[in-house]
């Protein structure tokens, strides 16, 4: 069986590019705080979502609608409408993280397939089985804190499908459990759907040295000629007891391309590519690579040579927590 590749689309153009490049499934969100990539100039209005889903379905691909922030108290109808509109638009599933929204969707849209977002950070078999039994969740996106043997152990104990990230940005913290961004800027992934928001980023170049500040805190400095990562808080350069370095995570991004055979063996159903904020060109390139890789895997052929290095952040890649030494 070919592993399903689940591909990002920040815009309708990216959705079409991903489908044409061979995506089995595309995930995207509405242009508001209901989804965790609420970035300027990105995402879909209602008409674009309907058209995007129709396009994908016409080409045999599925669309998952991410409604994966935590609803704001006093404003739950905004999130409830997003779920209802995704159902009406023909979405193949919604991706949810919030307990209240899971309960709402299970009660009001029982036939709409529910996936558990990585933002719920469901990191063991017991909690996954709880979500499945309580809210009828059919697939769980696993947090990026697990090693391949741990993923295999989880799959042996759960009935639901699991989906894991294989490429793109890497959260070093348990997803949906991090307020670093709102501490520094007032805006967080859980509430506003943004992390280290561009509106609070300030770049300053002086004699070739590029400083990046977030909310007034210096997050990174790159000397002339060094790659310049986006100032994501957890990948910044900080100081403890006089020594400076990337204390939480280096400015690397995830590339688990070579682990695909092991992930397949571990019982993983779907592979997820991060990057709804990236261009349609990037999306097409990455999707094409991963489609070739899962096709090769299913045919029992060796993995194609990776050629994704230059697309990655800071231009260095890691296999992340999939290799246990990452911890």
């Amino acid at each position: 069986m070919v592993m399903e590749i689940v591909c990002p689309a920040g815009t309708p153009a990216s959705l079409r590019a991903a489908v044409k490049a061979g995506a089995h499934t595309v995930y995207c969100g509405y242009a508001d705080e209901t989804n965790a990539r609420n970035f300027p100039g990105l995402n879909f209005d209602r008409a674009e979502m309907r058209a995007g889903i129709a396009f994908a379905h016409a080409h045999g691909a599925k669309v998952l609608v991410a409604i994966n922030t935590f609803a704001r108290a006093g404003a739950e109808p905004l999130w409830h409408r997003a779920i209802a509109d995704a159902a009406t638009a023909g979405a193949d599933a919604v991706i949810l993280a919030d307990l209240g929204l899971l309960a709402h969707a299970a009660a009001h849209h029982p036939t709409l397939r529910r996936h558990l977002s990585v933002q719920a950070a469901a990191a063991n078999a017991d909690v996954i089985n709880f979500y499945a039994a309580t809210f009828g969740v059919r697939r769980v996106v696993l947090p990026r804190v697990l090693s391949v043997p741990e993923i295999a152990a989880i799959n042996a104990e759960v009935e639901v499908e699991t989906e894991v990230f294989v490429f793109g940005g890497l959260c070093v913290m348990a997803e949906g459990r991090c307020s670093l961004s709102s501490y520094a800027t007032g805006q967080s992934p859980n509430m506003q759907g943004v992390c280290s928001p561009a509106s609070h980023v300030d770049y300053h170049e002086d004699n070739g040295v590029l400083s990046a500040k977030l909310g007034g805190y210096t997050i990174h400095r790159a000397a002339a000629g060094e790659p310049a990562p986006y100032p994501t808080l957890c990948k910044g350069c900080f100081t403890t007891e006089g020594a400076s370095g990337h204390l939480f995570e280096d400015p690397v991004s995830l590339n688990a391309e070579t682990l695909i055979p092991q992930l397949a063996k571990a019982g993983v159903h779907a592979l997820k590519i991060e990057g709804r904020q990236r261009s349609r060109a990037y999306v097409a390139q990455v999707v094409r690579n991963f489609r070739a890789a899962v096709d090769a895997q299913a045919a029992g052929k060796p993995m194609p040579e990776g050629m994704l290095a230059r697309l990655t952040e800071g231009q260095a890649a890691t296999a992340g927590a999939y290799k246990k030494t990452w911890r």
Partner: protein, 180 residues
């Protein structure tokens, strides 16, 4: 540049020299007309910009002796070309080939920025909005120029094709299925 960097061609010196003495007022006018025409055909681009449709963007091709200021003004855009310094809410600087290649989907904006082929200053959110809106619009500046050139459309296409081969600069939209 790091060993992984994207190879971005530099605009040839000779035409760059010519720009150094060309009058800027007609260039502003010609570009203004071109952009106004684009605005009509790609209304979605301005909708996608949202509040950043009121920002002023300075675009600085570092291999050309001119830079330009673009004000989307919610769909009634204005362009100013200048040889002197321009001011705005945000500045995007990089080789012309990188800027055009990003518009045409030949390069990824984030990758260009990580490799420092592009430099961003000022309102980063505005730059992101512009980049995302342009990426969604699937612009093809060559096709746009052709459609405006009437009977000279074929001539424009040939000139652009020749210039693309000579310079390596993406002057028309790339299919996403092409290898980079």
């Amino acid at each position: 540049m790091s060993e992984f960097s994207v190879h971005v061609p530099v605009f040839p010196q000779l035409p760059a020299l010519a720009l150094r003495c060309a009058p800027v007022a007609p260039m502003s006018m010609a570009l203004g007309g071109f952009v106004a025409r684009l605005a009509q055909r790609h209304a979605g681009l301005f909708r996608r910009l949202g509040a950043y449709g009121r920002s002023r963007f300075v675009i600085d091709p570092t291999d050309l002796p001119v830079s330009l200021a673009l004000e989307p003004r919610g769909g009634c855009p204005r362009v100013q070309v200048s040889r002197g310094p321009l001011h705005g809410d945000a500045r995007i600087a990089g080789p012309l080939a990188a800027l055009l290649g990003m518009v045409h989907g030949a390069y990824d904006g984030d990758a260009l920025f990580f490799s420092r082929d592009l430099v961003i200053e000022g309102d980063t959110a505005a730059v992101l909005a512009l980049r995302n809106a342009i990426d969604d619009a699937e612009l093809d500046l060559c096709a746009e120029a052709q459609s405006m050139a009437g009977p000279f459309a074929d001539a424009v296409k040939r000139v652009v094709a020749l210039a693309e081969t000579r310079t390596g600069v993406a002057l028309s939209r790339r299919e996403e299925n092409e290898e980079w």
